[in-house]
Amino acid sequence: MPFLNNITVKGVRTFRLLLLFYLLGWPALLLAEEEMFSFDLDEIEKNPLVWGGYAEFSWEHMDINQDSVFNHLNFSAKSLSDFDRLRGTGQLFGRYDASKLNLNWLLQASGQQDDLGWTDTTDIFALYGTYTSSPTLSTIIGKKSYKWGKGYAWNPVGFINRPKDPNNPNESLEGFVVAEVDYIKTFGTNLQSLALTTVVLPVVEHVNEDFGSTYRANFAAKLYLLYRDTDIDLLFLAGDSRANRVGLDFSRNIATNFEIHAEFAYIPHQHKLVLEENDSISNRTQQATSLLLGLRYLSNSDVTTIVEYYHNGGGYSTAEMNRFYELIREGALNQPLPLDSLLDKGRELALKGYGRPQSGRNYIYAKITKKEPFAILYLTPGITSIVNIDDHSYSFTPELVYTRITNLEMRLRLALFNGGVSTEYGEKAFSNKAEFRVRYFF
């Protein structure tokens, strides 16, 4: 039976091949699996010097809102319809441990080329030494940044924080030169833990000058309590560089996927630069109460929603903002030539308050992100919106963040600013901004 013999011969060959594959291949597969999941202990070797950072490249394209107040202020001499910017940034952090002492640093350098030319900066964001005498007590001296408060977009109780950009709240910010003592104590009662952070912030020539009046000492403190699963902070700032203020914040999970937070700040005598009806500038002293209410919700489908309401008690009313917009418009549209005196006054006012982000009174912030939609790992699309409740203008910012490649983050973002004449987002210098950013961590 040659046919059957043929099959038998083929079968034997196949069996031999399978046996050979089994004998040779199986250990190789096992080895491959073993190598696939190796944990080299060198990876976890402790080194007294720890360092890292990122290098970033970004491209931005903005369409200029030509009739807007801030276009008249910033680009009055140019006749630009759009604006492109290329930027490179490098950030370097590090720490050197020597027993109970350590030295920390955070440096940033950036350079940008845009339609106005080339600019570059180099900053020491942080440089401080820490002495940790015990897990309970530590002392810090040097330049350090603070992020007090529970809010994502705004922090009315961030008395010694640098103001953050609500569209990029997670970015590093420059610190202040301080001396700090931190005390931690835990308890086995309803009061689970307590931490007291006390900070001395001096303002002298060339040191912390942008904090406020010079040759003054300022004292700030934050008492943190974890009481019945609720984070509570009591805060105050006293000194001569800025008006004294007190604050309170809290954060709590009311369900595993639902967090609520709030901040409250009170400034009895806040100084505010105001443009009066007769176009003079006055320095008013007023009571200011600011409030932030927020929530964070994670749905079953991995959608995270953050919503915050912010009442900025020290902000400008719609009428005050209108006067500022009118002043600029009057200066810019004057015939036959713009009135530089009015524009200069406008620039000064913009710098000292009117031009700061969210300088109005009432805002809503909302951010919705969906993690890994359609099972695409490491992709996070999101939408952020900030609404000025008083003048109904808003920003709307969709974005995509992709982190598939280890240590490489890519972000594509489009910001749209919308609002009528004499509204915050209607008077921005740009009507929209497209941004592509690549950040490589090392």
């Binding site: 696939m36 999941f37 944990f39 202990l41 990876e43 976890i44 402790k46 720890v50 890292g52 990122y54 952090f93 720490r95 441990d97 350590n102 820490t130 940790t132 015990s134 897990p135 309970t136 530590s138 940044s145 992020k147 007090w148 408060g149 709240p169 997670n170 970015e171 590093s172 931190d182 931690i184 104590k185 835990t186 833990s193 931490a195 952070t197 943190y224 974890l226 699963d229 984070d231 954060s251 709590r252 999970n253 595993t256 996927n257 967090e259 937070h261 964070r296 994670l298 993690k371 890994e372 099972a375 790992l377 490491y378 982190t403 280890t406 240590n407 490489l408 983050e409 961590f441 090392f442």
Partner: protein
């Protein structure tokens, strides 16, 4: 006085049945005494000391074989305190997570302050979520409602003690000889299978601790994806309670 040969014969003949009787009477008695919660506590004791430090590597594997790895340094104290610090990759370096009972926080150096997170989220992507990374003792989070003897292993039916735990129920297979977990099905309150955990590679970590060095997980909700956790340098360590506090999160690396 010498015992009589009769007595000796009686002793011999009664001894074996008596021992057998004792064996059959006491063995079920022991099994009854060693109920599900006792076994669970023993599993916890075998898996880790009460206060310890350890290193872990998390590997997310995609259907096409691509991998993403994270290395963490962790500290745990008592029933409800745990910290995990990311050592790599560079994009995550310095991030730390703290768990105190049902409360969880994430500290990101750039953000500069701890944010509350939930057990269902995942700070690393992939199939492991925060509760897997900051897992407390099984007996702290779960109560054994039923135990089935299946020859060489027990199957424990575990129910979450509080609603804040990530999985409402666990079906845990425990090896009888070693009293170590082998397979765990993580179930939603509806009974739907969320993920399966498989412990393997039993290793001697020293100090009498012999436990699995690898944990693999897969999920029917993320077909084709796998995640693996490797354990190294698990050892006892005495730690102050203050280490497990928000203000200490930025300093955890100094404890290594």
């Amino acid at each position: 006085m010498m015992p009589s040969s009769h007595t000796c014969i009686l002793n011999k003949t009664t001894l074996i049945p008596c021992l057998l009787l004792l064996f059959f009477v006491l063995l079920p008695g022991q099994a009854l005494a060693l109920d599900g919660n006792d076994i669970l506590r023993q599993v916890d004791a075998n898996m880790q000391p009460q206060s310890y430090e350890m290193y872990r590597k998390l590997i997310n594997i995609e259907p096409d074989g691509k991998k993403k790895e994270f290395v963490l340094y962790s500290l745990k104290k008592g029933q409800d305190k745990m910290i995990a610090l990311f050592l790599s990759p560079a994009s995550e370096k310095g991030r730390s997570t703290l768990r105190l009972g049902d409360n969880m926080w994430l500290y990101i150096p750039n953000v500069g302050k701890p944010l509350r997170i939930t057990s269902l989220q995942s700070v690393v992507g992939g199939i492991f979520n925060n509760s897997d990374i900051l897992r407390l003792d099984y007996s702290t989070e779960y109560e054994a409602k039923d135990i089935i003897d299946e020859g060489d292993h027990y199957v424990l039916d575990l129910t979450a003690r509080t609603p804040s735990v990530a999985y409402a129920r666990l079906k845990m297979e425990v090896d009888k000889k070693t009293l170590l977990p082998t397979n765990i099905d993580c179930l939603a309150i509806s009974g739907m299978l969320i993920k399966t955990l498989h412990y393997s590679k039993i290793k001697d970590f020293g100090d009498g601790m012999i436990r699995p060095a690898m944990l693999e997980t897969s999920s029917p909700l993320q077909k084709g994806y796998r995640s693996v956790m490797l354990f190294a340098k698990v050892k006892k360590r005495d730690l102050a309670d203050e280490v497990f506090s928000l203000n200490y999160l930025s300093k955890v690396d100094e404890l290594r």
